[in-house]
């Protein structure tokens, strides 16, 4: 079963490497959005420092959402998903594999890029470390919840807008506690409670999201 999981992750990563443009798109989007804020708001260090956690988190969240639609759409269009549904591998393993690959191509690069951009906002080092931590725990939740949305809107016309409407409300708690963790550290307090709550979201979505995604995919074909 683990071999099957590895094979799916490897396949999706290799596919992403062949379509590098798609992956770079949302990273460039992230960089541009974050960079525009200091230019628009003006070089007021205290204001920027206060706004940084929110800006970085909102931009990361939107960038992660941009890449969601591709999670199942291409496989749906060319019939690969059909083969996955009647694969010898349990569908749950395939879905988890695709979500892991999605995170490695969206959440992980965003997490690694964020501290570099955080420097623009003059964030102290402790806050940058917390930013990386909160994104490392929070972005997998975005991929997991997003997977459910992507599966539910499969084959629906105007699915992109629907996907955003469906998924964004569920992203709100992740945003609040993710950005909150960084803000706490900036103001000299401990980020532990916020990070623990993010961890709890991750645990819950690990348990529920793959199962819900499988059910949604089966419905899409029924």
């Amino acid at each position: 079963m683990l071999g099957g999981l590895n094979a799916i992750v490897a396949r999706d990563l290799r596919l992403s490497m062949r379509r590098r443009g798609d992956v770079l798109n949302h990273l460039v989007f992230f960089v541009i959005v974050v960079t525009l804020f200091p230019l628009g708001v003006g070089a007021e260090p205290n204001l920027l420092r206060a706004m940084a956690p929110g800006i970085l988190w909102v931009a990361a969240l939107l960038a992660a959402m941009l890449s969601l639609q591709r999670l199942f759409a291409a496989d749906f269009a060319d019939g690969t998903l059909e083969q996955m549904l009647i694969s010898a591998q349990p569908l749950g393993v395939i879905v988890v594999g695709k979500m892991i690959a999605h995170w490695m191509m969206s959440g992980l690069p965003l997490t690694l890029l964020a501290p570099v951009l955080g420097v623009q906002f003059d964030l102290p080092q402790a806050a940058l470390v917390t930013l990386v931590l909160s994104l490392a725990i929070g972005t997998p939740v975005l991929s997991l919840i997003g997977g459910v949305g992507a599966a539910l809107t499969l084959g629906v016309r105007g699915g992109g807008v629907l996907l955003a409407l469906l998924v964004l409300p569920l992203y709100v708690p992740v945003l609040i506690f993710g950005a909150g963790a960084v803000a706490e550290v900036s103001s000299g307090m401990s980020a532990a409670p916020h990070l623990s709550l993010l961890g709890a979201f991750l645990a819950i979505s690990c348990a529920v999201a793959p199962w819900a995604t499988c059910a949604a995919l089966r419905v899409a074909y029924d």
């Binding site: 396949r11 062949r18 291409a74 009647i86 694969s87 591998q89 395939i94 029924d222």
Partner: protein, 206 residues
């Protein structure tokens, strides 16, 4: 091996067929006929377990395919209308991925042999976006060469877009499968001759 009882299929408000019954044994071929839109593909998808019948049950070796789940999927090879061929991958990689999904380990030599048999040897390493429609179909069908141990083949229009030589190859593969004691269900609008121990057909839409 395969037994369908009182099958009915609905698409929206439209009832495509109802009260459909058949049994399929080792070495037997079921040919599903009918005009466009009569429910051939829907029937094949029901049998493959991709969708649920409105009424009725499908049993594989006496057990409902719904409860067998992956155990049934392992005994089944389904090639649908869509080729499941990724444009970014070469023919070789596409074949490797589809075999992986089917839970079958394959060596590079086996895959090369299968692609050669379908006349794709020269293009095995080319990204599939440079292949023609018929060649993509052949990439999908190359799986048949390495599916000797899969007892049930379900093929939806396998001969569409194939040239005469590839058609002969695929017919030969189905023949060999039936001679080994496998079972096959297929739809086609082309007249082909397949030697089967028993062949019977269902005509839908009459």
């Amino acid at each position: 091996m395969l037994e369908a009882r009182d099958l009915a299929c609905e698409r929206g408000d439209l009832r495509l067929f109802s009260g459909l019954e058949f049994t399929l044994g080792a070495g037997e071929l079921l040919w599903v006929r009918g005009p466009n839109g009569s429910g051939k593909t829907s029937l094949l998808r029901l049998v493959a377990g991709l969708s649920r019948p409105a009424t009725g049950t499908i049993r594989w070796r006496g057990e409902d395919i719904r409860s067998l789940a992956e155990d049934y999927a392992r005994e089944l090879l389904f090639i649908g209308h869509a080729n499941a061929v990724k444009e970014e991958f070469s023919a070789e990689e596409n074949l490797a991925v589809s075999l992986e999904l089917a839970g079958r380990r394959s060596s590079a030599a086996e895959r090369a042999g299968a692609l050669e048999r379908l006349g794709l040897a020269a293009r095995a390493r080319l990204p599939s976006r440079y292949l023609s429609q018929g060649q993509k179909r052949r990439v999908a069908l190359a799986r048949l060469c390495l599916a000797a141990d899969v007892p049930l083949w379900i093929l939806d229009e396998p001969f569409a877009a194939l040239d005469a030589r590839a058609l002969d190859t695929v017919v030969g593969l189905v023949d060999a499968h039936l001679a080994r004691g496998g079972a096959a269900i297929l739809t086609t609008h082309q007249e082909v001759t397949i030697a089967a121990r028993a062949r019977f057909s269902i005509a839908l839409g009459d």
